[in-house]
Amino acid sequence: MEYLITLAVLIALNVILAASYNLVIGYGGLSTVAHPIFFAIGAYTTGLLSIHVPELPALANVVLGMAAAVVASVLLAGSSLRVSGDYLLIASLGFQLGLLQLIRNLEFTGGPGGLSAIPGTIVGPMRGPLFLLICGGAALACVLIIRAIVKGPYGRAIGAMRDEELAFTALGRNAMSMKIVIFAIGCGMAGGAGGLYAYYFQYISPDQFEVLASAAVLTMVVLGGMGTPFGPVVGAALLLAIPQAITFLHLPQNIMAPMQGIIFTLLVLVFLFLRPAGILGGKGHPR
C-alpha cells in the first residue's frame, strides 16, 4: 500500500512537471530543456528552508520554492530571449548543467551526496494518504489552471504568437513579456512540485535533475500529446507506471536493467511513426 501511494505521489508530481513543461514548450513554443532544474530549485529552496528556518510553515516554504523558480526563470528567459528564441535552448541547457555543478560543489546544499534530513512535516499513519491528497490536488489545480490559460483570449494570443510572431507583435502585442510570463508560470509550477517532492521524500540528490530527467519529461509530453491539456497527464502516468509494472514480471536483473531504456526508446519511436501528435493529440502531425 505504502508503495502504491509513493508511486501515486510520484505520478502526481510528474503530472505537474509534464503539464507545466507542456505549457512552456507545447503551447508557448519556447524551446527549453531545463525544466527539471526549476523542479530542483523549488526542491532545494523548500528543503533548505525547512532545515534552517524551522519556524516557517511548510506551505510558506513551498511557496518560496515556487518564487525562487519564478525568479530564476524570469532572469533566464529575460536575458536569453532578447538575443533570440533559439538562444533559450542553449542558455537553458547551460543553466541546468551549471547550476547542478554549483549544487554539487557547495557545502550547504549537501554536495554530490544530496540534501538529506529534510523534516517530514506530516507524521503518523495518515502521512502517505494526506500527501497523496495534497499532491493530487495540486496536480489537478495545475492542469485546470493551464487549461484555463490556453483557452479563451490568452490562448488565442499564444496561438497567434506561435504562428507568426512578427505579425503578432506588429498588431501591438508584447510577445516578449508574454513569453516571459508563460515561462515563469510553467517554471513556478515545476518549482512547487519540487517543494512537495522535498517534503514527501525528505531527500533530494543533484543526480535526479540531470539531462536524462529533461528527456523523461519531454517524453511524457510528446507521448501524451504536446499542446493538449490532458496529454501530459496520460504521458506522466504511463511513463512512471510502465517501469513499475515490469518489475512484477520478476525478470532477472541483467535483463531488467536495460529494459526501461529500451521500452522508452521503443515507445518514442513507435509514436514518432504511428502517432506523432501523441495519445491525446489526435491523428496526424502536431501543430
Binding site: 490559460i149 479563451g152 483570449p153 490568452y154 490562448g155 488565442r156 494570443a157 496561438g159 497567434a160 506561435r162 504562428d163 507568426e164 512578427l166 505579425a167 503578432f168 507583435t169 506588429a170 498588431l171 501591438g172 502585442r173 508584447n174 510577445a175 508574454m178 510570463v181 508560470i185 501543430r287
Partner: protein, 252 residues
Amino acid sequence: MTEILRVEGLQKRFGGIVVSDNVHLSIASGEILGLIGPNGAGKTSLFNLISGVLRPDAGSIFLRGQKIDGAPLYKRARMGIARTWQNMLLFRSMSVLDNLMVGPREYVGESIVRLAFGRAGVRATEAAMQERAMGILARMGLEQTAGSLVVDLPYGQQKLIGLARTLMNDGDLLLLDEPMAGVEGAAYETMQRVVRQESEAGRAVCVVEHNVSFIRDLCSRAVFMAQGKILQDGTVEELISSSVLTELYFGV
C-alpha cells in the same frame, strides 16, 4: 489636411547596401500615397523602419507630430500604425474571426491578471471586439467565413483578411505592402473599395504596389523610390510621364 506621418532624413544600410538613403516623406490624413519602384528599391524596408521592425541608423519618424524613434514595434502599433505584409503572415492555425480578434490596439487577453480578476470586463470587451470584427468582415462580404480556418480561404480572400486584421487597430496610419499582388476579380474590387473608404474616413494610407492601374485609380500622390532614395514625389500622372522613371521602372 492634418499631417499624420512625417519621416525626416531616414538612413539605413545593411553592410554595403543602402536601403534607405536620406528619405523625407509626409503623409496627411485622408491621403492615399502610392510607393512605387523596382524590386529592392527599399519600399518594404521603409515600411519596416516606419512600423519599427527595423531601427534606422539616422533620421527621425514623427506620428501626429510626436517623435516615435524610441518606441518598439508593438508600441508603435498601439499608437496607431497598422500594417500588412507582402506574404500576409496570417495566423494559419486559427479561424478568420480569431485572426481579427488579436488585432485591436488594446487586447484584453494579453494580461493574465486582468483575465483572472476582471472577467466581466473581459467578456464585455471581447463581445465588443467580436462585433467590430464581424462588421469589418461584413464590409468585405466575408462574414460567412468567420469560422473557417484562414488557410482554407482562396488567396484573394486571405489578402483581404490580412487587411481586415490591421483594420481592427483603428489606427491613423495604414501601411499596405502589395495588397494587390495575386488578387483579382471580386477580391480586387473589394480591396479597392475598402482602401478608399478607409482614406475617406480620415486615415493616412501608404501603399506599396506594382499594379500601376491600382495606384492610378486610388492615389492622389505617389513617390518613386530606387536604391533607397526617393527620386520623385508628385501626382501619379507626373510620375508615369517622367521619362527617367519609365526607363528605370517600366523598362520602355
